[in-house]
Symmetry: D3
Subunit: 185 residues, 6 copies
């Protein structure tokens, strides 16, 4: 029912929920190899039931106000999404993440969508600090953090085992006052 | 983050969630007497904690896909809302309900909002039948059912105890094919 | 341990509990096709484990005081039963339902048993209203409502999907004062 | 709804359930001092809410088939009861216990009721062994075990702290074949 | 991390936890037939997942302070263990049990380990009574109770079904004052 | 029952469990102001019940293998402790933390105890990476990380609200190969 237009190219952000299981699975099938390079997102969703279970996990987080999942639709097709993780309203901290199928890469979709999330977190929910964490080798993801005006705060060495390799994770973040200053600029 | 414009008067429909507890409580305080005439909606929400608990109940229903709560904002002020109850995607049945503080009555807000819900239920979620249930004496509510093109299917005698009186409940409903025919008209 | 005689033909009403799983399954096997014409009762009980699970669901409802299951034994053989559904002691409303294997039909067993349940609901538990809901085509079931002195209050159009068809559901009910008046007659 | 007559004096055995909370509390108030001599039964039930909570604990055990609570009614007044504890259908073992308000003592009520329970456990549920456990000083309770034809199997020294004293507990039991032999006698 | 030396032969007592699942399973495989003579301990642990599940059950008991599992390691190899069961700190009662693979029998390992447990129960946790329960035919186990200075309090006839036979269970126990007297001797 | 000696001064590391609630509370009372400078540890434990609840949280983590709490006893008095947090055996990552009452500071107790934990995590549990996270102003805590041979990997700006101020958090870590190299040195 709800949708946020992300620009003139028909891109939209919408809540991604358990009843989207079939659509979500079809999207994952198109993007599984690409998405799986650096993150395990959706790797456990291999049929409709497991896709629904994956979405349910996020629906439960939303109910608990600890996270939420938002799909990116391009011309009516689900092509990726952004999400809140480790959303801690009491402490004023949260993390934003993303995933994309390859056909939708290169259009700035994630940056546009993440901007909506960070803005809501800071302006509506009073978050003080928004993090972005990605593998050091995941340049496209780190570039989103850069475009959002975040600063790199550290590198957690060999902290992220994925496909048999322990990756370094970079932690980036933007503070509320930085976000507001930048938006006003 | 999400909002649906309901017209030129600034009315908007948005998800109403636990973090709105303070705003929800303030709204209930303005409308408690009016709202409580025919329904117990919000009657248990008398401070921020109980208001949050009331909203959490709906957040849990949303996670379970059995209901959801949507607030009506007029000029940035929460003035009422519409909700899905007994949402049963497998059987194709659901119920829509509403509440309003008195200052927002008489503008057709609920009808506009309920139309969005029924439309989404039928067109997006494949619901076959959408119900509206209200006390037989609650004319404003029954009028919404009429405006939505629903038909009265029965009267459940003395089925609804409220404030010491057992009220008759009217059951109204619209079927998917009726809804589509009407929208095309 | 407990049993209520329903007449001189040896018919008895007893609590039907998870430990009856094997007996319940054997009964369902005899009646599955007949019972399944209008209701899904027992359709998920296809072996002892699933039969026990079905009975457990009702045992849990009994513990929560929201329902209970009662078997009909004829000459020591389980042949059907009656049940409370949507038992809401606080609101004073409940629903009564039934099922029967074909060999036990035509003896008024369900009417006799349902009378015991309605009487207990009204006289012991203070229920104000007892409902009976059945598919409009399920004449034998609707006849029980008639014999119990209930009134038809409405028809929920196409509200009940069963075996590929959406059935109308009729809602019948008797109020406490009607029940008492009728019993005294 | 269900009741078992225990003789010509109007004594009846019925399921004792959470909705009996007020009646149960009134009974406890009459018997609290007497009942509390050797057992803590009902000691936590000091108002309607805690009485209901105490009964709910047994309702949950019944749903889990690990115990059940049965009240003794004399001339329509709840005066005590018998119960199954540690009911283990898989192992074929269970325990029977009792409590009574003083005005109902001396009539053999508990023995009559316990006989119904043991008989059901052995004949209907296939129990192999039924235990009775009581403080060594609780002569009235141990006499019930004697009358049921149980044998004393041991004394658990200082195993039962009650009102500041550690009591010895006697364990009595009857085996299925003993029970059947005795009943046939 | 924690370990208690049981003597000069390298025997050690350590917490036995879910992460030991593979080691626990290997040990059970060596001892399954021997252990299974009188007790079902570990009989459900037939692969790593079920071994972990079995250990988890005890980990949960430890968290609830109702039991705990302790492995016996001999020269770095898990060969058996002792455990607290029915640990009831409020009532001051608990039970101690054991199991052993055959290669480790005959060294007094269980007696040494059980002594540590009884001592901790009495001296650190204030237990008043520690029980040992074993099948009447399980001489090696009953001998541990004898060596610990326990007294036989009773025989629960045919109370323990195992491998198709109902065994008598002997109940032995030592009281805190007996334990202290004996230790001082 | 279990204890690890940390040196000749009588310092010992033991599991700290819910049954220590009174001892834990007394310790917190002695150290509350000092401990609370940089961390909220124990701040919710203000009577025996809440102290037990705080310890129970860690007991549950231990059962789930996601954390564990270990007390430091000096001459038989609980004076502080170390703990595992965010223990993720599957990913090979965990965090170690600490707290201390002031009278026990300056003896290297935490460093000694943390060494035991890191060593167990790396050698027994196969952890690849152990973290230490503390407020940038908490010099004593950061010095432990230094003494353990950890490296500072980043500073999470204003991420930790405590007593009205948002503190920077420093993330330090040691990798398994670094730990082993250092121990061999």
């Amino acid at each position: 029912m709800y949708a946020i237009s992300l620009g003139d190219d028909g891109a939209e952000l919408r809540p991604l929920e358990p009843w989207h299981a079939e659509e979500f699975l079809a999207h994952l099938e198109r993007g599984r190899e690409f998405i799986g390079q650096y993150i395990p997102f959706g790797s456990g969703a291999t049929d409709v039931a497991s896709a629904r279970a994956a979405l349910q996990k996020y629906a439960d987080q939303r109910a608990a106000d600890t996270g939420s999942l938002h799909g990116l639709w391009l011309d009516g097709k689900l092509v990726g999404g952004v999400l809140f993780l480790n959303f801690d309203a009491e402490r004023g901290n949260c993390e934003v993440g993303c995933w994309l199928e390859p056909a939708a890469a290169g259009r700035g979709l994630v940056t546009r969508a993440a901007r909506v999330l960070v803005d809501w977190a800071v302006e509506e929910r009073g978050m003080h600090r928004v993090e972005w964490i990605a593998a050091a080798a995941n340049e496209p993801s780190l570039n989103v953090a850069r475009r959002l005006g975040m600063r790199r705060e550290g590198v957690l060495r060999q902290s992220y085992p994925h496909r048999g390799v322990r990756h370094d994770l970079e932690v980036w973040a933007v503070l509320a006052e930085e976000w507001r200053g930048r938006q006003g600029a």
